[in-house]
């Protein structure tokens, strides 16, 4: 394994380089995937070592103990309930926030008056993170689902909006002028040229917003909820169940990774011709 690590030196290879080396050793064809597995496995090994020999295993439970704690939670379905509750909150807030962010964002990018009117207020509001909005959200909407939807919406809306506006503003002027010469109306230029040109920016904004949703759902559930992964963290902390805290933390990171992959897959299947278009020069 060591020689594998040494030989790559952690540098990404060009495809033709990878193809050339794969003729020498078929194992090298999958080297980045293999190294990914190695990286995670090494992480777990180091963690196991540290918590067995260096740290207090009660404060930093070793991975095997964490796994042991996870099994009853999986068998009873408790963890899946928390996952689904948090995921639904993220999904509702994210979809609503993305929709609103895209619509307002492209209009701000296109209509000068709207831009000048709304841009200053947006520039102020977007520094209010969802976490900062938790107390007022609880007062407005209670500790039920609505306050979580609102908080995720809040975080998503501004990120998607800012990116959608940037995408619209950066739609190549030559492309719009060429369409205008061809005979496109102002609306056609907007709908058929500007918005597709902005698609890569919008998708990027949505990916960042998805990551931020994962970060904001946890504090929201810690402070004001009676279900979800954040609540699981909070409940376990009160009862000093560090094993269960680590189960929750592990779940959040795996979930985020999986959701991002799914998002990328969906984009790849449905929007690839727009997203890859950005590289044309």
């Amino acid at each position: 394994m060591t020689w594998l690590l040494l030989r790559t030196g952690g540098i990404a290879m060009r495809p033709e380089q990878a193809a050339a080396t794969s003729r020498i050793n078929p194992l090298l064809h999958y080297r980045s995937q293999l190294l990914g597995v190695v990286s995670v496995a090494l992480g777990f090994l180091i963690w196991q070592f540290l918590s067995t020999f260096i740290f207090n295993p009660y404060l930093v439970p070793p991975p095997l103990d964490v796994l042991r704690a996870a099994i009853p939670m999986i068998v009873s379905g408790e963890i899946f309930l928390d996952i689904s509750v948090s995921m639904v909150r993220i999904l509702v807030g994210f979809v609503a926030g993305s929709f609103a962010g895209i619509i307002v964002g492209v209009l701000i990018g296109r209509i000068r008056l709207l831009h000048d009117l709304l841009d200053p207020i947006i520039e102020l509001l977007r520094y209010l993170s969802p976490t900062a909005m938790i107390p007022i959200a609880v007062i407005w909407f209670g500790i039920g689902e609505m306050s979580k939807y609102f908080l995720i919406f809040w975080g998503t809306f501004f990120i998607v909006l800012v990116n959608a506006t940037a995408g619209v503003l950066r739609a190549p002027i030559a492309r719009q002028r060429a369409a205008e010469c061809l005979g496109a109306s102002r609306f056609q230029i907007f709908a058929l040229v500007v918005i597709p040109s902005a698609a890569p920016y919008i998708v990027t904004g949505m990916r960042i917003a998805m990551a931020s949703s994962f970060m904001s759902i946890i504090p929201a559930e810690i402070l004001a909820a009676d279900s979800g992964l954040g609540y699981l963290l909070q409940k376990s902390a009160i009862m000093l169940q560090t094993h269960r805290i680590f189960v929750a933390l592990l779940t959040i990171s795996i979930l985020g990774f999986v959701v991002d992959r799914i998002f990328r897959w969906i984009v790849d299947k449905s929007l690839s011709r727009y997203v890859s278009a950005v590289s044309v020069v």
Partner: protein, 267 residues
């Protein structure tokens, strides 16, 4: 016929930071003519082209096409860009890019296929109709831009250094393609370039421009040699040298001017 009378273009809102880009431009372009606008960088030739297209308005003077003043972009004048990658719609295939123009111009649907076939084969892209613009070479993208422009049948092609980013061999080939299309369709072409050889290869006339501020047309040369123009022909070679000498002087003059302005601004 395109007619420009005393065209002046100034940038900047206040008198202090205003910049006179063009001053006193007079030009008549006959229909079916191939006119090259030749000048060094910063002489305002692209600005002049944008004014003819209607993307920018002149501050003074009149610009008219077939007797009617130009107030904005029109379907009769097709602008053609150097950066085909951004001018084309990269999420559509070759064929769909041409179809886009027909669709927004409300050409009857039953004619689409015939028009697409005709113009894609004119630029030798009919074998590549299902490819995406990313999969095409630079020269092929420019040919697609030509096909897309011709498909909507404009009267005038306004071309802003369309081949400047291509390698020398591809460029020469594109000249052949463009001249062939021009001779077959009889379009009026206004072609902006800073390449003397390109201007001599293509134009019926070459309008030479001075460097700004206040650029104008210093000289109009008529080229009566038959095409393709042979650069070993003494007449052509002589013309090339004359133009080069004149443009070199022009560049020198503009550099001295810039230096003088910088000197003046020193505290």
């Amino acid at each position: 016929m395109l007619q420009l009378r005393n065209v002046k273009k100034t940038y900047g809102a206040t008198a202090a930071d205003s910049y006179v880009a063009l001053d006193g431009i007079n030009l008549d372009i006959a229909s079916g003519e191939f006119l090259c606008l030749l000048g060094p960088s910063g002489c305002g030739k692209s600005t002049l082209l944008n004014i003819m297209a209607g993307f920018e308005n002149a501050n003074c003077g009149t610009v008219s096409f077939n007797g009617a003043p130009i107030v904005g972009p029109g379907r009769d004048r097709m602008m053609f860009f150097q950066d085909a990658g951004s001018a084309l719609l990269p999420w559509l295939t070759v064929e769909q890019n041409v179809r886009f123009g027909l669709r927004v111009r409300n050409v009857p649907k039953q004619n689409w296929d015939a028009i697409i076939d005709r113009y894609l084969s004119m630029v030798a892209l009919d074998q590549h109709r299902r490819k995406m613009p990313t999969q095409l070479s630079g020269g092929m993208r420019q040919r697609l831009q030509i096909a897309r422009a011709l498909a909507v049948e404009p009267d005038v092609l306004l071309m802003d250094e369309p081949f400047a980013a291509l390698d020398a061999l591809t460029k020469r080939r594109m000249h052949g393609v463009l001249l062939d299309i021009w001779q077959r369709t009889g379009k009026t072409i206004v072609f902006v370039t800073h390449d003397i050889g390109e201007a001599i290869s293509l134009g019926d006339r070459i309008a030479m421009m001075s460097v700004g501020p206040g650029s104008n047309i210093t000289k109009i040369l008529r080229l009566d040699m038959p095409r393709p123009r042979d650069f070993t022909n003494p007449l052509v070679a002589k013309m090339f040298n004359e133009i080069e000498a004149e443009l070199s002087l022009e560049i020198l003059r503009s550099e001295q001017l810039a230096a003088a302005v910088a000197e003046e601004k020193k505290p």
